[in-house]
Amino acid sequence: MNRRRFFTLGSGSVLATALGACDSFGPKSAKSLLRFAERKNEQLERWLFSNGSRNGFGKGARLSGRAFPRYFVSETIPMWNEAQRGTWRLEVGGAVRSPLSLTLDDLMKMRSVSQRVDHFCVEGWTARAEWTGVRVSELARAAGVTSDAQYVDFQSFDSDYHESWDIDSALHPQTLVAYGMDRAMLGPGHGAPARVHSPVKLGYKNTKYLTRVLFMPTRAGGYWSDRGYEWYGGV
């Protein structure tokens, strides 16, 4: 076998082995490497994360308004059926000293903030709105979160949609449980009656149709993070 033939056959068989087992992520043999890179990226991103980072834009900037995309995973727009399920309540529990069960009125009586921030979708688009709601850090304070709480799971009534976060991102001052959008009550296409909204995480981490904020010592994955998207999803 001459040298040229050796290289041709050799590189051909290496390529065939590498591509032999492909799925939607590319070669299967690369999956562990990709997972490793994701874990290392998460470490770096958590180290880079600053509670003092801020997103926002001026009063003069245009809001997306009706062009703000609606999104849910159920087949139809999830609506809270009061007749069937009683009054909607937001449960705040887990690693807390005094769990909360808040009606929308209770939530709206808490100290609220309004912020004009970007919404970063994993697909690459952004949209702008003014969000009104209660800081997650405010809820954590009211419930008396304990030092066991390292993660937060945001759960919904949109089928089994949920996403868990690292505690630092959840307690960022721009992370809200929002009930108002563009100075009106949140609409059913955008997660009514309340949703998570924060510029520090990609859109899919911002659970809509919120039912429960669960402080936890361990992470709990999430709807899209269990399907291949990065669990951290930080911006």
């Binding site: 992520f25 590319g26 990709l34 997306s64 697909e123 688009w125 952004t126």
Partner: protein, 274 residues
Amino acid sequence: MTSPNGQSLGDPAETAPPQPADGLRSDVQRGRAPRHHWVVRLTHWVNVIALGLMITSGLRIFNAYPAFARRGETFCCYPFAGKSIPASLTFGGWLAGARNWHFAAMWLLFANGLIYIGFIYLHGEWRDLVPRRGDPRDMWEMVRFYLFARRDHPHQGKHNALQKVTYFSMPILGTLAVLTGIGIWKPVQFAPLTNALGGYVWARYWHFLIMVALVLLSVVHVVMVFAVDPYSLRAIITGGYNEGKPPEARNARPFFWRRAPAAPPRDAEGGLGS
């Protein structure tokens, strides 16, 4: 090595022609040193893999929203909004897969780029690439030569003026790709960087344009290798280069080149001094 009867069997040390006494010829010109240092050759091919992964996975990410406008707004400067990149040019399969690849391969590109730039800075190769005052004129002369408006190949060093500006801009474009990429990846944590790029929408646009520039330069580069100097292919793999047949000696234009006239017999090389 000697045969049983004591005669030399051609030990190179004994049959090598005498070297010129003037010492002006470099090791490269004598064919002793490789044309490209092994670090340059290795980083070149790692870069092919890294850039290839970044561009193809990046195009798959782009296809999730093949436009630039913020929702509810228009964007001035992209006439192909809404048109997807053909799937055959993309890698990663779907958005999440492509993102996984993009955020893993970026470290390969980053580390490889650091090694390359650090090496050429410390080892001196940057001198072959750094722009000099006569370069615009030499570039124009190369263009004239390629268009048959000039008869003889302009005199050149290791690279001609068009190659120089291309190879010099590649690491700069790579650095800009990394910076604009960070601006898209962390527009809140690195808000000052993203704002300096004109905001998220523009950062994404610059990132895209830099990719287009890298693709164009790479395509021209590969075409010119085969059209002008196929001998350089060996130089970037093994380091070996036929110093008798550079494009200048062959008066090589794209697709119009001939073998250089046979080199004079080796004995004649030392003739000046002897």
